[in-house]
Amino acid sequence: MVWTRKDLLGLDDLSREEIELILSTADSFKEVSTREIKKVPALRGKTVVNLFYEPSTRTRVSFEVAAKRLSADVINIETETSSVKKGETLIDTGTNIQALNADIIVIRHNYSGAAMMLAKHLHISVVNAGDGWHEHPTQALLDMFTLKEKLGNIQGLKVSIVGDIAHSRVARSNIWGLIKLGAEVTVCAPKILIPPAIEEMGVRVSHDIEEALHNADAVNVLRMQFERDGENAFPKQVEYFKNFGITKERLQKAKKNIIVMHPGPLNRGIEISSEVADGANSVILEQVTNGIAVRMAVLFLVAQGQDKKHENTD
């Protein structure tokens, strides 16, 4: 299996073999972060630009750490303080970054498809760090890496994704990736948070949290974004926690070794109780650690993507 893509835009486009190559490469990179000198020279002399149109600390920092552990130079552009405020288009920003001879753009954007549009216009690599409601491939990859590390194999696993499925790029990328790797996926949320025709993606729908947890090998708890509701948020939060919150009592009825994941940041007492978030089943902080290895693997692979070389010889 050889990696040929210059970009990583989503898991929908990738084959099972490509996903497995990223995960096995990440496995080799994980050890680097445990060394006293946490650095290898693989991307020495390469420039990685983090172009973030949405506020994000954890994903941006994770990509930055990953790039630095590969010895790349990293530049962070936050659009709040850039020419985007002056009306520059995404493509113009991209071609300007390319003109700086940067090698990889990591983009987070609030519009679905932004990463793909940028990738089409540029010959340098583009990595999608979240586009609108569409995909967040590296989050799903690190979730799968963590599952694989804990349970050995994704094939045949029962994974439940709980929370705002309708507006979650994390859910979408996870569903595409997990199904390609042979997992059985259940999505669980109130009806209003389940998008129509989601079953066509190959998942089972549940509106009953206890039923969704029953027999599951892992549960991925999505962050509820009630802060957008302003002062109306509180009663909804209480009701959501009562009906869908992951609590100790609910876990006691599930498999004893069920893995609890969460992409962060946590809303303690809304989608997950503190006891569970800090409990023995939680792998939430391991996900953060694994995110570095997965993003190192992605940066390393796209930097060598061969379709880029073909374009350069035109």
Partner: protein, 179 residues
């Protein structure tokens, strides 16, 4: 069919390993602070064989690590065939140790340059020595082996293939003329 001739057979490889094991012990005056690090992939099997040979002679177990040098290569952006990254597995501290790097064939020296950088990123060994089964010449860097199974003068139109039982199902070294 490419023209192949046998440089070493099974018995010759075994004798080389035993002799190198003796030389390592002689030079390092025993096994104190001694460790072996095999370069992926065939260096790893040779390092394991050296460990076994040293145990037979001195009745001491010495640690063996595995080094993957992919991330330290100087031709990453030049190669057309994409290298696959594997794990480095050195679960002991190499600081202040006498490390013997083990590889199958020594050629340009670039792999060893990468291995030296990779090792030094893991700690500061007291010394690093180099053991190879075959030295075929044509160095591009100022690197020389401390222990050699066999010196084989080669031309640039030839390659040396080392095949080991653990991965290839046979023990032999072949000189292959490129077409």
């Amino acid at each position: 069919m490419p023209d192949k001739s046998k440089l070493l057979d099974k018995e010759a490889i075994r004798r080389s390993i035993v002799r190198i094991a003796h030389e390592i012990l002689e030079k390092n005056k025993g096994t104190d602070d001694l460790c072996l690090v095999g370069i992926r992939s065939r260096g790893v099997y040779l390092a394991e064989r050296l460990k076994a040979a040293i145990k037979t002679i001195d009745e001491k177990e010495i640690p063996v690590g595995i080094l993957d040098i992919t991330l330290y290569r100087d031709d990453l952006s030049l190669t057309s065939s994409q290298p696959v990254v594997h794990k480095t597995e050195i679960d002991f501290d190499i600081a202040d140790k006498n490390v013997v790097l083990v590889d199958d064939v020594l050629y340009t020296g670039r792999t060893i340059r990468a291995a030296l950088d990779a090792l030094i990123d893991l700690g500061r060994p007291r010394s690093i020595q180099l053991a190879v089964l075959i030295d075929r010449g044509h160095r591009e860097l100022p690197i020389r082996p401390d222990y050699v199974g066999k010196n084989i003068p080669t031309s640039l139109h030839e390659t040396v293939e080392v095949r080991l039982m653990e991965v290839d199902g046979a023990d032999e070294a072949l000189l292959v003329k490129k077409e």
